[in-house]
């Protein structure tokens, strides 16, 4: 406790740590500090759960009162992409748990590696999410007021979009990560030049983290194409043009060999058919449908590709809830990445000791909660039958 002669510390009392390394002045012991932080983070998780609870109430309400909307809407979500993201997040939870273990044992180097893997998984998750989002925006699957399902995929207009045959929206979603990546690489090189090696290493790790996003985008595109025939997202390939489309079909044949071939045919069928009601307005955009091998059958819709005119007018509410839930979750992922970046820096500085590892433990708990919420979002949004 404070003693009578502690007055001389007053001038610099903004510094929390005036006795003992990493034990703030108002705590008596490392254990008291750890217990306080631990209870604090648990209570924070409580607030997070209640924060999400509003969206779960909205979900339950609309699913109960309008089950038909959910039946109609779920076909537009690709459960394999959702499953992939679930596995990515679970893996990141594993590496986070291993990171906590390393910190508890004071192994700073191991800890930094595990944290880096966790961050890469996090950005991969966001990359896959970006593919999903841009794909839906292409089809006009938006929130309630702007929902306008067309099944069309606008031809890319951006230079990058044209050359890579990817949706404009996906290009836009990649701009900030690309800038961040370039920024980190350049900053890392400059730090190296001025001999700030630790900083250079940190910035390079951040660049690697951001590159996980692009890995996620690539995997997302491939995965989405590969699972084309299986789900309603078939039209849905983000890839609007032939070459990659062919790639997608090839992969289809290999990976989905055991699936009903008729299903596959039907999907192609519909690609050709498009949506008659939009024929006139979107002739430009639908060029690629013509380019796709099609057998020219009459327009038909099935469970996976319902006729937009038969859909419930409030189907957009499902997607409002979908965007709110997954969007809020994605914001939490971004927050988590920032916190993990801070932990990575402190691991490089070698701060963790067997009696001081609290921050890793706390951020770890937060990260597992983000995973936990996704564990529920996945069946609630993607696995509706």
């Amino acid at each position: 406790m404070a003693v009578a002669d502690s007055h001389d510390t007053h001038d610099d009392h903004h510094d929390l740590y005036d006795h003992g390394e990493f034990i703030a002045h108002h705590f008596d012991s490392a254990e008291q500090q750890f217990d306080s932080g631990k209870l604090g983070i648990w209570l924070f998780l409580v607030t997070e759960i209640l924060f999400f609870s509003g969206l779960f109430v909205a979900y339950t309400l609309y699913r109960t009162n309008h089950p038909e909307v959910f039946e109609q809407a779920h076909v537009f979500l690709n459960k394999y992409l959702g499953g992939l993201n679930t596995i990515v997040l679970l893996f990141s939870s594993l590496t986070m748990a291993l990171g906590v273990r390393s910190a508890q044992l004071g192994r700073n180097k191991n800890c930094s590696v595990y944290i880096l893997i966790t961050m890469v998984c996090a950005t991969m998750f966001l990359g896959v999410k970006a593919v999903e989002y841009s794909h839906k925006w292409d089809m006009g699957i938006l929130v309630r007021s702007s929902f306008d399902l067309t099944y069309t995929h606008p031809t890319p207009t951006t230079e990058i979009g044209k050359s890579l045959h990817i949706s404009d929206y996906l290009v836009y979603l990649c701009i900030v990560p690309a800038l961040l990546f370039a920024g980190f690489v350049v900053a890392s090189a400059i730090s190296k030049l001025i001999n700030k090696n630790m900083l250079a290493k940190f910035l390079m790790a951040m660049a690697i983290t951001v590159s996980g996003y692009f890995l996620g985008v690539c995997i997302g595109i491939i995965f989405m194409s590969a699972t084309d025939a299986e789900t309603g997202s078939s039209h849905a390939s983000v890839i609007a043009e032939q070459p990659l489309m062919l790639l997608a079909s090839t992969q289809d044949d290999h990976s989905d060999g055991d699936h009903d071939e008729a299903d596959h045919d039907k999907a192609d069928h519909d690609k050709a058919a498009g949506d008659p009601s939009h024929d006139g307005e979107h002739s430009d955009n639908e060029e690629h449908f013509g380019a796709h091998p099609a057998d020219g059958g009459e327009a038909s819709f099935d469970d996976h590709h319902p006729d937009p005119s038969t859909l419930d007018r409030d189907i957009g509410i499902f997607f409002s809830i979908y965007y709110c839930m997954t969007g809020l979750h994605a914001i939490h992922i971004i927050g988590g990445i920032i916190a993990l970046g801070w932990l990575y820096w402190r691991s490089l500085l070698g701060h963790w000791r067997t009696d001081y590892f609290g921050p890793v433990d706390y951020v770890g708990l937060y990260w597992h909660l983000v995973d936990l919420i996704w564990i529920y979002l996945f069946p609630l949004l993607y696995l509706i039958d």
Partner: protein, 567 residues
């Protein structure tokens, strides 16, 4: 026993204290000291109180005559909305916990600070940003006319600054969560050695119960307001009936937070009153564990009654009955507290100084406010009284008659501890008298008007109500003068008041074992754990002219009490 020098050091007037230990604006703006943050909060909420109070006086002036043209109808709507929103989100919710609680709570536990000092400072800055956004609705030139409740679908359709205001309330919610989370952890992990849960002052119990609500309910407000912003900008169709949404769902969301929030406002006030009644009766609090558990009971029951705000909104009969029944049960823990306070007063050695006058006013006003709540919780009477001035009078009796009165009482009680200077007790009591009488003059006529059918939120009214409205307006100005006088008395005392000793009131909770003003670390030496309601543990020391724990006293120079009691 300790020697005279140590006694002087521990309980005498210190040379350095938390106010003068560092200087310059930075030492305040970036301070992590809970006492300084508490003082900044106190200044902040006072500004909010005056601002919203001015809105109220403008409203009352407008209502002086039934055909007044002082404000346009639109202006009137904006005025009552901002009065409500600023009072609720920026003033009452942070007033006692974040301002007074921040200063006192760690000291009551014998701790040096709250568990997370940086989060505490962040809470204050979020408060500033949030209040700024709330007021941004005016500065943007659009105003805000939804009422503080932001009910859909009107809040979606109106063109006023709903987004600024809801964003502000969202930020203020986080400020409140930070305070609550901090207090929960502080009470759990930072109590003095051997200070068990039942050795805590009741103010700590009430802040703990409040913090439970802040942590559990406020996040729901956050998501509600975010969804409202999304609804307003993107039209997501969750609350807006034009897009298939459910507007009543908003009311469920809003009141899931805002009813418990009512207990965020009143519980800390009850805690302050428990301290004041006991100290100024110099008598052990009656029914300690009942008061302690009734705080927790109110906090938990508070989550089960939100639907009583929605009796007329088309709610199903079953739910209405459940909510009405549980609403009545809230009266039980509230009454437990009132009866225990009255029992504490019985045969006590009562000192009628300013804080005690406020405490007694509280019991009277809260009694009326609480009992009229039962009228509104009953289904049949509520249908008649819903959205009338009766409701307005009811919640003002609880919020102003309860919380504001307790805040003033608490501020007067701890003021000498914070500044080391004494206020003018006569003027303090005059202020209290003006607040009490002005308050009753303002709001009692509103019960009568409301029961006769005067609807709330109307800019004009039938001439038959004019006499009541005029009484109410006069009362509002008396109340305003009373608050202003108290403010002047307090500010004068802080800078020019006579020096006072460490424990002038013979209180026994730990914060009175620090010097006045306290040291930066709160206690120069670990305080001796005393029962907060055992006043015999404090003895009068002639040399220092103060009450100190018996363990520190010089046995030759103490008296059990100083006669006559000086304050």
């Amino acid at each position: 026993m300790v020697d005279a020098n140590t006694r002087q050091k521990l309980f005498g007037t210190p040379e350095t204290n938390f106010l003068n230990c560092s200087k310059g604006w930075k030492s305040w703006a970036f301070t992590l000291d809970h006492k300084r943050i508490g003082i900044m909060y106190l200044i902040g909420v006072t500004v909010a109180l005056f601002l919203a109070g001015i809105f109220a006086l403008v409203l009352r002036s407008h209502l002086f005559t039934f055909d007044s043209t002082m404000l346009s109808d639109d202006m009137y709507n904006q005025m009552f909305t901002l009065h409500g929103a600023v009072m609720v989100f920026s003033f009452i919710i942070p007033s006692i916990p974040a301002a007074l609680g921040n200063i006192v709570l760690p000291m009551m536990l014998g701790a040096k600070d709250v568990a997370f000092p940086r989060m505490n400072l962040a809470s204050f800055y979020l408060w500033i940003i949030g209040t700024g956004c709330l007021l941004g609705a005016i500065l943007s030139g659009k105003g805000l006319d939804t009422g503080w409740t932001f009910y859909t679908p009107y809040s979606i359709d109106t063109n006023t600054g709903v987004i600024y205001a809801t964003f502000g309330a969202f930020i203020l919610g986080f400020s409140s969560i930070f305070t609550g989370l901090n207090f929960l952890v502080t009470v759990n992990t930072m109590r003095a050695k051997d200070q068990g849960w039942f050795k805590l002052p009741l103010f700590v119990w009430s802040l703990y119960a409040t913090a439970i609500i802040q942590v559990l309910a406020t996040p729901v407000l956050g998501i509600t307001l975010l969804m409202l912003i999304a609804e307003k900008t993107l039209h997501i169709g969750i609350f807006d009936p034009k897009y298939g949404g459910d507007p009543v769902l908003f009311q469920h969301f809003f009141w899931f937070y805002s009813h418990p929030a009512v207990y965020i406002m009143i519980l800390p006030a009850m805690g302050v009153i428990s301290e004041l009644i006991s100290v100024y009766s110099q008598k052990r609090i009656f029914g300690y564990s009942f008061i302690a558990f009734s705080s927790v009971a109110i906090a938990l029951l508070g989550f089960l009654v939100w639907g009583h705000h929605m009796f007329t909104s088309g709610q199903s009969l079953v739910v209405t009955l459940i909510f009405s029944a549980i609403t009545f049960t809230v009266a039980i823990p509230s009454a437990v507290k009132v009866f225990n306070w009255l029992a504490t007063l019985y045969k006590g050695s009562i000192l009628l100084n300013t804080p005690m006058c406020y405490a007694l006013s509280f019991i009277f006003l809260f009694g009326i406010g609480g009992l009229t709540g039962l009228f509104l919780g009953a289904l049949s009477t509520d249908i008649h009284l819903h959205d009338t001035y009766f409701v307005v009078a009811h919640f003002h009796f609880v919020m102003v008659g309860g919380t504001l009165t307790a805040l003033l009482g608490g501020v007067f009680h701890w003021w000498p501890k914070i500044w080391g200077r004494m206020y003018n007790d006569f003027l303090g009591r005059v202020g209290c008298f003006l607040v009490f009488s002005g308050f009753n003059l303002t709001f009692f006529p509103q019960f009568v008007m409301g029961s006769r059918g005067m609807p709330r939120r109307y800019a004009s009214y039938d001439p038959e109500f004019q006499a009541f409205h005029q009484l109410s307006t006069v009362g509002a100005f008396v109340l305003g003068i009373g608050i202003l006088l108290s403010f002047v008395v307090l500010v004068y005392a802080a800078f020019r008041g006579p020096r006072c000793s460490s424990n002038p009131f013979r209180a026994a909770s730990l914060e009175w074992q620090s010097s006045s003003p306290p040291d930066f670390h709160n206690f120069i030496q670990t305080p001796v754990l005393t029962d907060p309601y055992d006043f015999e543990s404090q003895v009068y020391d002639e040399e220092l002219d103060t009450y100190i724990p018996r363990e520190f006293a010089n046995p030759d120079k103490v008296a059990p009490r100083k006669e006559p009691v000086h304050h």
